[in-house]
């Protein structure tokens, strides 16, 4: 299933990108090789340009040697101009490079052509694929430090017996979720810490503890190459995120607005957790039967 979802995302993105670029090419959405006529004032060497009639006009200056229009490519430009500026082939993308092919001084009219723009989406997906590959490594390396911190603290808590006290406290729940795991297995400690961290909205503590739990579940796993029922249950609960406090990111974006969402979030997340547990239990039964 994961394989198909993964392949589906990649294949569909190439197909969609190609289709979108071909349709841009057929409709000439970016005015490639099309002559545009803009009015200008001879005295001030300034004028207004618009991509299609009725658009918000863009102001320009004519440069010194009468070869280019000077248009700053910033956020104030209409969408289509920004798009062309971003995908033009010159190095300097801060200026929209419009080339003047003819100046009619009597009528005060310019004939210009815009920079050619092709394969926008195909370029975009190629670039993003490589960017993300790089980003994934940065993300993992960043995780290394956080993992080290929490794993170190967990080791202390394990040696001091703190985790074992904690497991005893919530063992009834754990036993119901993971009936096949013996009471004295250390994995129960990691699982309960991970769940607690999730409940308190501590995402960066939950991940290292969850990974530790997965590694300990793998030691108990009889088929090392595939996920055990316990792993699937654990993962389903994790992705449904049992939480009592909203995640830190949400507080950062919404500020105090979060407080009235506390109850809806708890209700919705409880519903998703219940669904996760029920579906994992059902899948487990289907697998054994």
């Amino acid at each position: 299933m994961l394989s198909y979802l993964w392949a589906g995302m990649i294949m569909s993105s190439v197909v969609f990108a190609l289709a979108s670029d071909i349709s841009d090419e057929i409709n000439n959405s970016f005015g490639n090789q099309q002559a545009f006529h803009f009015k200008y004032q001879k005295s001030s060497r300034q004028g207004q340009a618009s991509f299609s009639p009725g658009d918000k006009p863009v102001f320009f200056n004519i440069n010194e040697n009468n070869q280019q229009l000077e248009i700053d490519a910033d956020k104030s430009l209409p969408q289509i101009w920004q798009h062309i500026a971003r995908h033009q082939s010159v190095e300097d993308k801060t200026q929209l490079g419009v080339t003047i092919t003819e100046i009619n001084q009597n009528k005060q009219e310019l004939t210009v052509i815009l920079p050619e723009v092709h394969w926008v989406k195909i370029r975009a997906i190629t670039k993003t694929a490589f960017d993300m590959a790089e980003f994934a490594v940065k993300l993992a390396i960043g995780l290394a430090g956080i993992m080290a911190l929490w794993l170190g603290l967990m080791r202390i808590a394990e040696k001091s017996g703190l985790i074992q006290y904690f497991v005893k406290l919530i063992y009834p729940v754990l036993h119901w979720l993971f009936p096949k795991i013996e009471k004295n297995e250390p994995v129960l400690g990691s699982i309960s810490l991970n769940m607690t961290a999730n409940m308190l909205g501590l995402g960066n503590a939950a991940t290292p503890m969850g990974i530790k739990a997965m590694q300990q579940l793998q030691e108990l796993n009889r088929h090392k190459d595939r996920a055990s029922d316990e792993m699937c249950m654990f993962l389903a609960i994790n992705t449904s995120s049992v939480q009592l406090l909203p995640p830190v990111t949400l507080i950062a974006i919404m500020g105090t607005g979060v407080s009235e969402l506390l109850l809806p979030i708890i209700l919705a997340t409880s519903a998703s957790t219940v669904a996760a547990i029920i579906s994992a239990k059902m899948f487990a039964r289907m697998r054994t039967s």
């Binding site: 299933m1 994961l2 993964w6 569909s12 993105s13 190439v14 969609f16 990108a17 979108s20 989406k121 975009a124 997906i125 670039k127 993003t128 694929a129 590959a133 993992a140 290394a144 430090g145 993992m147 080290a148 794993l151 170190g152 603290l153 202390i156 040696k159 001091s160 017996g161 703190l162 503590a205 969850g210 990974i211 530790k212 997965m214 793998q218 996920a227 699937c232 993962l235 389903a236 994790n238 992705t239 449904s240 995120s241 406090l245 830190v248 949400l250 607005g257 979060v258 809806p264 209700l267 919705a268 997340t269 519903a271 998703s272 669904a275 996760a276 994992a280 899948f283 487990a284 697998r287």
Partner: protein, 172 residues
């Protein structure tokens, strides 16, 4: 709300304090435990690359938007505002992407709109399923993930329906 900043420092204090009481060699044990951090992080790199690049291509190609436009009439039919659909689709895929969607919705509709409330509840009530899957199974080098993905997506879907229903009942 601001009490939540206390949780981590207090937790660290308790763990180390309890360790000292129980005469654990805290520094040695910390370093010993922390050693695993780096190797685990390196082990998940291939899984993260596989997942993140596929998701990023999917978004950048416009395929996701097309799918959203295709299925949004279905959602309108059952009374879910179609504006929240991007959040429902992107939430299981990427964390940063869903933050972006939420920020966009806030800029467009304002913090007090029902759309932002539903989207924020969706954001708060589920996790980035595919990321968690890649990291957790990557750490143990398992690529046959069984029914974990299915169960996770069922949970997400239930969460979205519940978020919408609860917000519609409470806020309108």
């Amino acid at each position: 709300m601001s009490y939540s900043v206390l949780v981590i420092p207090v937790l660290i204090f308790l763990i180390i304090g309890f360790g000292l009481i129980k005469k654990v060699a805290v520094y040695d044990e910390f370093v010993d435990g922390a050693k695993e951090g780096f190797s685990t992080a390196v082990r998940i790199i291939p899984y993260l690359v596989a997942m993140l690049f596929a998701i990023a291509m999917f978004r950048a190609s416009g395929a996701m938007e097309s799918i959203i436009t295709m299925i949004s009439p279905l959602f309108e039919l059952v009374g879910i505002p179609p504006e929240v659909l991007p959040m429902a689709i992107i939430r299981p895929l990427t964390g940063s992407g869903s933050v972006g969607v939420l920020a966009e919705l806030m800029a467009q509709y304002g913090q007090d709109s029902i759309i932002v409330k539903i989207a924020a509840t969706m954001f708060g009530s589920t996790e980035t399923t595919l990321y968690v899957l890649a990291v957790y199974f990557g750490a143990i080098n398992v690529s046959k993930t069984g029914y974990a993905l299915q169960a996770g997506l069922i949970a997400d879907f239930t969460g979205f329906i519940a978020a919408t229903a609860v917000c519609l009942v409470m806020f309108s």
